[in-house]
């Protein structure tokens, strides 16, 4: 989850998010190096007493500062396209879950075998127990088996919403009448938080998403329990 004064991304919980994180570090480093160089040149130019009134042109430096930026752009583009195509790879999901957005809660449907469906409402601040996170906890979590490719089909029952979990590197718009597919693999067990990412009315900020990744046996026990309770 996010923490106060956080500047960077949340820790990655899926392979795709790890790649995105590393790419961001790479691109940001290039940006910072260029910015530092430019700032240095500016201060050097501004603080010198030397002048040169007779330079007209210079073929060599023009070539250098054309080729070098092109090379830098290629060095950014290649990893970027690599990740783009990686995210688009055909995967073979083990499980399909539908996440339906409502005003103002999410409902999850696990219908591969039985018809398991439940709503997931935010826990109001006054009902939180010590240690729980304000505006992020829900009464029912979307439980998934860890290290398994999961397909999530996102849609909405009323207005636009968006299903996002930053640590899994997932965000997908929930459009009424449309079924949008996204997928992820939770590389480690844990609890991953997200929030609705498309303005959807008064309680848009109060319909969070919680994904809990657990070992397969725990997932099977949980789904049997949920089916009994339903």
């Amino acid at each position: 989850m996010a923490h106060p004064t956080q500047l960077g991304f949340q820790d990655a919980a899926s392979p795709v998010m790890e790649e995105l994180l590393h790419f961001h570090d790479h691109a940001l480093m290039i940006v910072l190096l260029i910015s530092t160089l430019v700032l240095y040149i500016i201060t050097a130019m501004v603080s010198t007493k030397l002048t040169n009134k007779y330079i007209l042109d210079s073929q060599e430096i023009e070539i250098v500062w054309t080729i070098l930026p092109a090379v830098i752009l290629v060095l950014i583009a290649l990893p970027s396209l690599r990740i783009l195509y990686l995210m688009d790879e055909i995967n073979d999901p083990h499980l399909t879950i539908k996440a339906m957005g409502h005003q103002w809660y999410w409902s999850y449907e696990y219908t591969d075998y039985e018809n398991l469906g439940f709503d997931s409402y935010m826990i109001p601040t006054q009902d939180l127990t010590p240690g729980q996170f304000r505006l992020l906890e829900t009464d029912h979590r979307m439980v998934v088996p860890m290290e398994s490719p999961v397909r999530v089909l996102v849609s909405a029952e009323d207005v636009l919403h968006s299903w996002a979990v930053p640590s899994l590197g997932v965000k997908m718009d929930a459009v009424p009448g449309r079924l949008n597919q996204t997928a992820f693999i939770a590389s480690r067990p844990g609890v991953f938080y997200g929030q609705c990412s498309e303005i959807c009315g008064a309680n848009h900020s109060f319909m969070p998403i919680v994904v809990e990744a657990v070992p397969l046996e725990h997932f099977e026990n949980w789904s049997s329990l949920m089916l009994e309770d339903a």
């Binding site: 999901p93 083990h94 399909t96 539908k98 029952e157 079924l179 949008n180 597919q181």
Partner: protein, 86 residues
């Protein structure tokens, strides 16, 4: 051939990748399998044959389609107002 279909149905985990619908928008994938199940059931039962091969389409549409959509379409089929051709 029937054995292959039976095995596929028995070993079903979830709806597999369908090359006809390779992109993000899976709406048509859900609808197509729903239609195919009803068309298959109608075609096989009108000939008096066993409709168990149609189970594949049913499993796929149950995996993909939101339950509210399926209930709505089932209601429309009963009413006779379903927009698809079965």
């Amino acid at each position: 051939m029937a054995d292959l279909i039976e095995d596929k149905i028995k070993n079903y985990k979830t709806a597999p990748f369908d090359a006809r619908f390779p992109n993000t928008n899976q709406t048509r994938n859900c609808f197509q399998n729903y239609l195919d199940f009803h068309r298959c059931s109608k075609a096989l039962s009108s000939k008096g044959q066993d409709t168990s091969p149609c189970e594949w389409y049913q499993k796929v549409y149950k995996s993909l389609c939101p339950m509210s959509w399926v209930e709505k379409w089932n209601g429309q089929i009963e009413d006779g107002s379903f927009p698809g051709k079965i």
